[in-house]
């Protein structure tokens, strides 16, 4: 933590027209966003939307192709080492040092930041506790489970007590139990006032962790707001999900019109967007239609994404 915390409204990250090109391919196309101190900010979008490229530019390990970017008030192009000294980075792919033990991974990483050996040792022990890895301190990294490796990666990112923690797909590939444990740890960091920036293609993760998020699709930002705002703005309160027997769905043509504010036909199911999903489901039956299953649920960011892009988030 810095000695003098910046005022709460100061933007830790500010991007204007931020662009990343790889040859003729544009990975990030002129995006604007601000991240405030103490905020938990998310990039939600499918694979290939440009989230990781954006994170790498923020992390001062990838030069921008165009636009403006300021991280912690500094230009990553000019002040890479000073910015990185105050960041914690948990990349999408684990980059743990397989030639070192669990504890050594933390200690050596702290040394890269110029911390004394004694300080690295103290922090490593506290972080092992935080990541629930104390019993594995002397073990090699390779046999750890996916969830343990992610926790170690995040613990490692915290060794320099960063002002800003960047998490790229923090729970991708983890089982539900491991995800919940990780969410709990991230929530505790948020409580302590650490600014989190994360990418995810899980809407439940975004809803759990993000105060505010941007939805990215095809290198651009298509919407911005809190999870609740986005759902209110782009979806209805509830959704009725209908599954019809094979073949029936294609012949529904027009028969669902007027039953809901919006009807979305997906390959495997039909979504009726309505403030009262139960009523919409009843109306379907009254028209003589017989879906195999009916599920009424609250709208989620998945629905927001579908509305904004016409595609489902996880394909």
């Amino acid at each position: 933590m810095p000695d003098l915390p910046p005022p709460p409204d100061a933007a830790l990250i500010r991007a204007r027209g931020l662009t990343k090109r790889f040859g003729s391919f544009t990975a990030v196309d002129a995006i604007d966003f601000d991240v405030a101190h103490g905020e938990s900010f998310g990039f939600l979008g499918p694979n290939g939307a440009g989230k990781t490229s954006t994170m790498r530019m923020i992390g001062a390990v990838s030069p921008r192709s165009d636009g403006e970017l300021s991280v912690l008030g500094l230009d990553p192009e000019l002040a890479g080492p000073s910015i990185r000294a105050r960041l914690g980075v948990a990349p999408q792919q684990d980059t743990l040092d397989t030639e070192l033990t669990v504890r050594e991974n933390l200690v050596i990483y702290g040394r890269y930041f110029g911390l004394s050996r004694a300080e690295c040792g103290r922090r490593a022990d506290a972080l092992l506790e935080f990541a629930q890895l104390t019993e594995r301190a002397g073990d090699p990294v390779e046999p750890l489970s996916g969830g343990m490796k992610r926790r170690l990666t995040i613990a490692r990112a915290l060794i320099n007590e960063p002002d800003l923690l960047l998490l790229d797909e923090p729970t991708t590939g983890l089982d539900p139990q491991a995800r919940h444990l990780l969410w709990d740890r991230l929530y505790r960091l948020k409580q302590r006032g650490v600014t989190l920036v994360l990418t995810t293609h899980y809407m439940d993760e975004a809803e759990q962790l993000c105060d505010r998020l941007v939805v990215m699709d095809k290198a651009r930002i298509v919407a911005e707001g809190s999870p609740r705002e986005l759902i209110e703005r782009y979806s209805t309160r509830e959704v009725a999900e209908l599954r019809f027997p094979a073949g029936i769905q294609d012949s529904l043509d027009g028969q669902l019109d007027g039953l809901a504010e919006r009807v979305e036909l997906l390959p495997d199911r039909v979504l009726l967007y309505a403030d009262d999903g139960e009523a919409a489901a009843v109306a379907v039956h009254q028209r003589g239609l017989r879906p195999e299953t009916v599920l009424v649920r609250r709208s989620s960011l998945e629905d927001v994404f579908l509305r904004l892009t016409g595609r489902s988030l996880i394909e």
Binding site: P81, R84, P91, D97, E99, Y112
Partner: protein
């Protein structure tokens, strides 16, 4: 970042003191696997036993630097030290470096800290040199025990061996940064083996016809062999300075290339 397009900035950035943390990391790794470090110590000793003393018994004396006759063991020992310095640096600069670069993702993680690609390049090379320096000292101690230390100039053989390591380590890392698969390393073997065999390592250069002699004198390991041999027998002249400049240029060139390549590979 893009600053590396300016060679001057690149050179300047090679100087960061943070490179030492990478050396520390490697010490941690080898603390557990120190036994593998012995291979580099025994390799030149085995050659010295087999070729120096076995074959040397048949050879007797040969003409050393400056033309004076010296024992075959004294002739071959410094050349083996030079080759070992080369081999050790190349082993670190190829296989170990490639593993960390492409598989262990060691450097990707490190670049999220204040360290830069230049620090990584320097740190790796310094580590290879520390390792090489330990071998050189150990080998010279063995030479002393075997009665092969005849000149006080032998003391300079240690920094000279480090210079050879610097030269070949830098170039090996630069070459490795262009490698895509483990198979590409066969090419390196194809370069090392003839260097080892034909650089005046086992017999004086006058065994070659004039034209070939000039070619050998231009190759890199010859610089190291002649440098070490001259220091060990205490025959110093201006040509040694040429060797030093040649090897130093190799090392600096290699470092500049590898640090720019790391920029390109890791800071996409």
């Amino acid at each position: 970042m893009t600053a590396s397009s300016l060679p001057l900035t690149g050179l300047f950035r090679l100087g960061s003191r943070r490179a030492r943390f990478l050396v520390e990391r490697n010490i941690y790794v080898y603390r557990r696997t120190w036994i593998v470090l012995f291979s580099g110590f025994f390799e030149p000793l085995f050659y010295l036993g087999s070729i120096g003393f076995g074959l040397g018994a048949l050879v007797g004396t040969v003409s050393g630097p400056g033309g004076q006759p010296i024992s075959y063991q004294l002739f071959v020992a410094p050349a083996l030290l030079a080759s070992a310095a080369m081999n050790g640096a190349i082993a670190e600069g190829t296989f170990n470096f490639f593993f960390k670069l492409r598989y262990n993702k060691t450097f990707d993680a490190i670049l999220s800290t204040p360290l830069s690609p230049g620090d990584v390049a320097v740190g790796e090379l310094v580590w290879a040199l520390i390792r090489g320096g330990i071998y050189a000292v150990a080998f010279i101690v063995v030479m002393a025990i075997l009665g092969l230390v005849v000149s006080p100039w032998v003391i300079l053989a240690v920094p000279a061996a480090l210079l050879i390591g610097f030269a070949f380590g830098g170039v090996a890392m630069a070459a490795t940064s262009f490698m895509r698969t483990w198979q590409d390393f066969d090419l390196i073997q194809l370069v090392i083996l003839p260097l080892f065999l034909f650089s005046g390592t086992f017999y004086p250069l006058d065994a070659y016809p004039e034209a070939l002699r000039v070619v050998v004198q231009l190759t890199p390991l010859y610089q190291g062999v002649d440098l070490l041999r001259s220091l060990v027998v205490g025959h110093l002249d201006g040509s040694l300075l040429v060797h030093v400049v040649y090897l130093a240029a190799m090392g600096v060139g290699g470092l500049l290339v590898v640090s720019r390549r790391l920029d390109k590979l890791l800071l996409k």
